[in-house]
């Protein structure tokens, strides 16, 4: 089981670093969504399904879309 934890943590760390270093805003927001997803799996792993469900629904689902819409609006303003 520890190998699954290590893999998930690797994905989490790589996605977080990528979200920080990425220049493209859309890719960055998608990576933030991936971070939320991995955190949700980790919450499930340590036995907190309530928090995991909130993280999956709001962190990985809705906030990515809200970021995308916000990026779109700022692009429209810039044009």
């Amino acid at each position: 089981m520890i190998i699954v934890d290590i893999l998930i943590c690797l994905v989490l760390l790589a996605a977080g670093v990528g979200a920080m270093l990425q220049r493209n805003l859309v890719a960055s927001s998608v990576l933030v969504g991936v971070v939320s997803l991995m955190v949700s799996i980790l919450f499930l792993r340590i036995g907190a399904p309530d928090v995991a469900m909130t993280e999956a629904a709001i962190g990985a689902g809705l906030s990515t879309v809200i970021f995308l819409i916000a990026v779109r609006r700022t692009e429209e303003e810039e044009q």
Partner: protein, 134 residues
Amino acid sequence: MAALDIIGALLVLLGSLFLFLGALGILRMPDLYNRMQTGTKATTLGNMLTLVGLGLLEPAWLPKICLIILFVLITNPLSSHALARAAHRAGYPLAAGSVTDALREDEQAGGIEPGSTACQVRDPGSDPQPEVAE
């Protein structure tokens, strides 16, 4: 060990192999559309096989797992279709060795919305969004 357990474990293993191969495919394939094919078909099959196998391991949970499979079965073609369509309309190019482009032929033959392909993206092939200055 019951026969159901063995079948379930085999299905789980096969499905996770498909998931791995699908992920390997999106890393190795040359262009967007090839990636899309391996990344959606193979992983949908792997997802469903794994879920069915897990459901066979715990037969009491099978209805809920079937609900998950049903939603994946409905929603995944939807998102893949929207993605492929939008990418083609935005003018992302096919790989160099591609032979045919059926959707463009369709559109040029007066099918779906003529004149909406290609030359929309400033820099096809890479991210259309300009780099943000520091």
